[in-house]
């Protein structure tokens, strides 16, 4: 198994600091270009949120040599697909194309790295303010429970913490985007030395290297990329938020500060989430959904990112069941886990599931390229599948037991989303 996860790659850096990883796989004649900018909403500040995500839109609005809408047109005409996504810590852009069209993707990606601002206008910004505000409405404001995550994060993380606000940004900030602010943000973060480029699939590496040098080599690095400052914090007491909206059933969310991505407890926390809610036999699912049938669904997640992490448990109450009852049962299960720890068998099973997930993740070129880029950006080593998997194997039952005690003895944020007409139970 270790052999399959050991990928062959070539890595180098251009003089301007752009990191490049090449991974060949000629199974079918497609090639994917995956570019990470190490900028996300964590690089924003209060009152100016949503910038990194806005760029995920502006980057498709054309640049000096590419008219508006042509970015999509050229890729689609060549038979490619494309997209981008924004998280707290990074923005990624990718194109998957027939193998003969690698140069097209590099031309497009490099043009918006080097020449986006030449073509950025107030008119384009106004249009995308409309689109982004409608994205916010469609995905969050007009969805039942859609605001849950931003309510949790903004209540758990203090105001000066980089994860205090949502990646899409607050609506009032979106509606107030200013062209000059946006340009400034781009100047600061979208330079070659703040990016990592992965090319994966069917291509000729020598030709790829020459093309990368040709299209990206002439850009200047930016020596002043500000560090993100992350305050230490602990909740002084438990915090409860009641949010009323148009939902049919009440839902409870519990959030504890946890460990960051690749922190020493991160893998153990993933295993704990699997033990809590990963299957029908998991602790919380079995008790609340299967046996007592007081919850419609339940999930436990370790959400970890570059600077911090949160462990979240979320459950929907069955009709006529109070959230107090749900909460009581969740905590009684946590108590049992704290006192007795999970069984060896449960941990083994969780590790099996995680191992298979690793194998299954190799199937799709575009997601594989993204994983490789993540390893390169976060660990400095693209070939980290085995390292990553071993983190889980090294977490033994004793360590997992300690981790449960450590994190679930802390104060937490409790969010209740309840139907408009109901009282708070």
């Amino acid at each position: 198994m270790a052999e399959i996860l050991n990928i062959n790659y070539e890595k180098f850096k251009l003089d301007n600091g752009l990191e490049v990883v090449l991974y060949e796989d000629k199974t079918i004649p497609i090639v994917t270009v995956n570019l990470w900018y190490k900028v996300g909403s964590a690089n924003e500040r209060k009152g100016k949120t949503g910038f990194a995500h806005l760029f995920e839109h502006m980057m498709f609005q054309g640049s000096k040599h590419i008219p508006k809408e042509k970015h999509f047109k050229y890729i689609q005409e060549a038979g490619g697909t494309l997209n981008g996504s924004t998280s707290f810590d990074r923005t990624n852009y990718y194109e998957t194309l027939p193998a003969d069209s690698l140069e097209l993707a590099l031309w497009l990606e490099s043009d918006r790295m080097g020449f986006l601002l030449d073509a950025l206008t107030q008119e384009k910004l106004d249009n995308q303010i409309g689109v982004v505000s409608n994205e916010r409405r469609e995905r969050y404001d007009n969805q039942p429970y859609g605001r849950a995550w931003e309510l949790l994060f903004s209540n758990l993380f203090p105001e000066n913490h980089p994860y205090h606000w949502p990646t899409i940004g607050w609506m009032e900030d979106i509606l107030a985007f200013k062209l000059d602010d946006i340009k400034e943000f781009f100047h600061t973060y979208y330079s070659p030395n703040n990016a990592s480029l992965v090319i994966a699939g069917d291509f000729d590496p020598e030709r790829a290297k020459a093309l990368i040098e040709r299209y990206f080599g002439e850009f200047k690095p930016n020596g002043n990329i500000p560090e993100v400052s992350v305050p230490e914090f602990a909740l002084e007491k438990n915090k409860t938020i009641i949010h009323k909206e148009n939902v049919p059933l009440p839902k409870i969310y519990l959030a504890w500060k946890s460990d960051k991505l690749y922190g020493k407890d991160d893998a153990a926390l993933d295993i704990i989430s699997e033990v809590m809610s990963g299957s029908k036999n998991s602790r919380l699912f079995k008790s609340l959904v299967f046996e007592k049938q007081i919850a419609q669904d339940i999930g436990a997640f370790q959400f970890s990112a570059k600077y911090d992490g949160v462990f979240i448990i979320v459950a929907t109450a069955k009709p006529d069941v109070s959230l107090d009852r749900i909460k009581e049962e969740i905590f009684s299960q946590i108590e049992i886990l704290k006192n007795e720890g999970p069984e060896k068998k449960e941990i083994e099973k969780a590790k099996n599931v995680i191992k298979s997930t690793f194998i299954y993740s190799l199937e799709k070129l575009n997601s594989l390229a993204d994983i490789i880029n993540g390893y390169n950006c976060n660990l400095g080593e693209p070939n980290s599948f085995n390292y990553d998997l071993n983190r889980y194997y090294e977490a033994d039952d004793r360590f997992i037991g300690q981790t449960i005690k450590k994190y679930f003895s802390q104060n937490y944020v409790e969010l209740r989303i309840i139907p408009k007409e109901e009282n708070d139970k």
């Binding site: 590099l106 043009d111 409309g130 939902v247 049919p248 036999n281 099973k349």
Partner: protein
Amino acid sequence: MTNRENIPQPNGKIEFHLPEMERHFLDNGLKIVFIQNNKLPIVQLGMMVYAGSIHDPEGKNGLANLTSTMLDEGAGDLSALEFDEAVESLGSILNVSADDEKISVTMTTISENFEKSLSLFRDAIIFPRLEEKDFEREKRKAVTRILQLEQEPSYLAASGFQKVVFNGTNYAFQSSGKIETLETVGVEDVRSYHKEYFSPANATLFAVGDFQKADLISSLEQYFGKWEKEKVYKMKVCAPEKAGGEIYFIHRDDSPQTEIAMGHIVSGREIKNYFSRLTLNSILGGQFTSRINLNLREKRGITYGAHSSFSYNKNFGVFSVSTSVQDEHTKTAVDEIFKEIKNIKKEISNDELQFAKSSLIKRFPSQFETYSQLIGNMALVELFDLPKNYFNLYPERIKAVTLDDLYSVAQNDINEDLITAILVGNKNNLQKQFDEKLIELKL
């Protein structure tokens, strides 16, 4: 300075070898369609049983879906929890689902656990326990799920659309059923539904991945060979009444956007017009750069996205447009969609045609990348009885589409007078914008 003025041209030649779909019948008549692919140590199996929700008896909508959810709630010698434990211990993933025409069971496993996973997969399909206490739990879950769905704009719009546009057919209902119909379903209904529809003559088994052909067939013969052969089923046949021209609304409080679903039925899937419709739709609303999305999103900024499609079931086809728009711009969005539909009947440029064809043809190899895509492609051929060389001829057929073909499908297959629109949003807001009578729709 690098010269960036010119669009880079494709370099080299694409050599794509279509994966070979092979077929084999077990002695009991079960059809197996498979693609061997030994790149990764993974096998994926999919059983498609022609027992979707259009077969729900009258007044028992949701039965097919409930039957599907019961398949992995205990099977063979194992209780629900034991079964789940067995699947998980292998690191395998078992999924069950139901749509209008079929119940699907899929199993993904690493190849060293193939035989053990196959045994569990077989048990879920042939020997589910279907016990009373498991049934009651799953039924409560299904009922509660509908309560949740009833607050989701996209579910409301889709349900409203199905109800009005597919009126008079069994496609008019959501597979998940309704609360009042689910309440009439008992465990005996599930048992008899399973007995009636689950048989080798009414199913097709798909396999993709890391195996040798002879081994696969002998394993499948071992696990599925004794599945009893029973009567052959044909998919239900029906045709919706022609309707349309009305605008309905479903009231949903506090909606900052209106969810819109509009369209009408068209004739069913046929080789002769499938490719023309696909190409036309690619220009109208099938892609990001299509007319409708560029208008509503990139020009007006009133939506995050808008799409149109021709989609098909065994009995008929549907032309539809869907989007979610800022509440105060609902009327504009509906008007603009109508305008785009009228315009495309009058004018399509050769550039648009060439662009759409290029995109569809060149994207073709990437439709054969993942196991799920491969199973989906095999299932498509089986479900619609497409010719065996369907995929071999796909690029040529797109290439052959002409402007006349596009005008022909635009003018004959899309009729704005027959379009029904469903709007999910605030009643007051919608009534203010639409002078003509909006009809309130209750689901």
